[in-house]
Symmetry: C2
DNA sequence: CGTACCATGTAAGTGGTTACATGATTCG
DNA sequence: CGAATCATGTAACCACTTACATGGTACG
């Protein structure tokens, strides 16, 4: 049940509305946690009821009004408690791996197109992450770290490096998969 | 909803009981899909009702009788249909990444122990995969591939290589995370 | 004689997905 | 005037988790 905590972290990084959170979950936070707006609104309502977050009605011009949420003391405490409680490394679920093993009982070559699609998606994600890294961390326009290190910045960067490493690894593996599928197709 | 298909693949590789499937999901199939016995029994019942799988009562001595399931024609067809239908690369959920970003609002150094625990778990998984690879694929005792390549074997191996690559990448990243956390702790 | 393993289930709860619903504003 | 974006929700359903339940055999 880390959606609560993912939302708390995001609101600590910057307060915002349910709609804005949903957009963030399509991007930066979405790199390691996904959520739809329906889910987010439900959780926000619950956390508001529990006093974890505060709401502020923000009138806007040219746009619908919005409710801006920010983390209350109780929410900070709940997040801190969760941070200190150990969690098990999560279990993995890879549809593609199921498909690959299933292909042994069907036509392996028919999977090639599917794997190529995956390869493209992961290639795009990698490019996206790398662009973000240059923009926010390593590029010339990026804010310079002067004086003591900014913990939030460093931690965001190391998470992003994880995403980059994951995509690179995945691309290399998908190439391995493609080579294997092609080898099996050629040998028939 | 790939649990159905993961079970079908596993039953195609070798027919078995719900209990046996549950054990497999703790090992080989569990590398890329998890399921508890409660889930498995429910899905087996449903697939049996749909005519996807056949049951055979197998009396045993010294053990309780078991129901051995095997894939029926309709199940094979359902699997084939799924294999040919495109699926989106699945979304990721990493509690640890949420925790790392959350640590910026708490004590980063307190996360070190948690990350070390993760590191150990992933190290064990890697060792487990590598042992399996030697045993089943690359070792001297492993069945030799003579003549035409065995598609099932090759495909199982490439999936396992994916698991190995994933664990290696994760270990390297966790070292990066640890170094970052320690740097932040030392700079305070 | 207790623990571990084999074997199969039910029930309740939670988290997540999909579909439906509304309504205003901006831009081409 | 249609599509996209901003903004917030309800309802139904499905997948998954956790807790509870039973009962036999093997082994040290």
């Amino acid at each position: 049940m880390a959606l609560d905590h993912a939302i708390l972290v995001s609101l600590l990084e910057r307060p915002g509305s349910g709609y804005e959170l949903a957009r963030r979950f399509e991007r930066s936070i979405g790199y390691f946690w996904t959520a739809t707006h329906q889910q987010i609104y439900r959780v926000l309502k619950r956390m508001e009821g529990d006093g974890w977050i505060d709401v502020r009605e923000v009138p806007q011009q040219g746009r619908p009004d919005k409710k801006e949420y920010s983390v209350a003391a109780a929410g900070r405490a709940a997040l801190s408690a969760w941070l200190h409680e150990p969690i098990e490394p999560e279990s993995v679920r890879h549809d593609l791996a199921v498909k690959i093993r299933g292909a042994a009982f069907d036509d392996p070559a028919a999977l090639i197109r599917e794997v190529e699609r995956y390869r493209q998606v992961h290639g795009e994600r990698l490019a996206h992450y790398l662009a973000g890294e240059v923009r926010d961390f390593t590029g010339p326009g990026a804010p310079q770290a002067s004086g003591p290190p900014d913990a939030g910045r460093e931690l965001q960067h190391v998470v992003l490096r994880g995403g980059i490493a994951y995509e690179r690894m995945t691309l290399a593996w998908l190439d391995d998969v493609l080579a294997t599928l092609r080898r099996l197709g050629a040998a028939r």
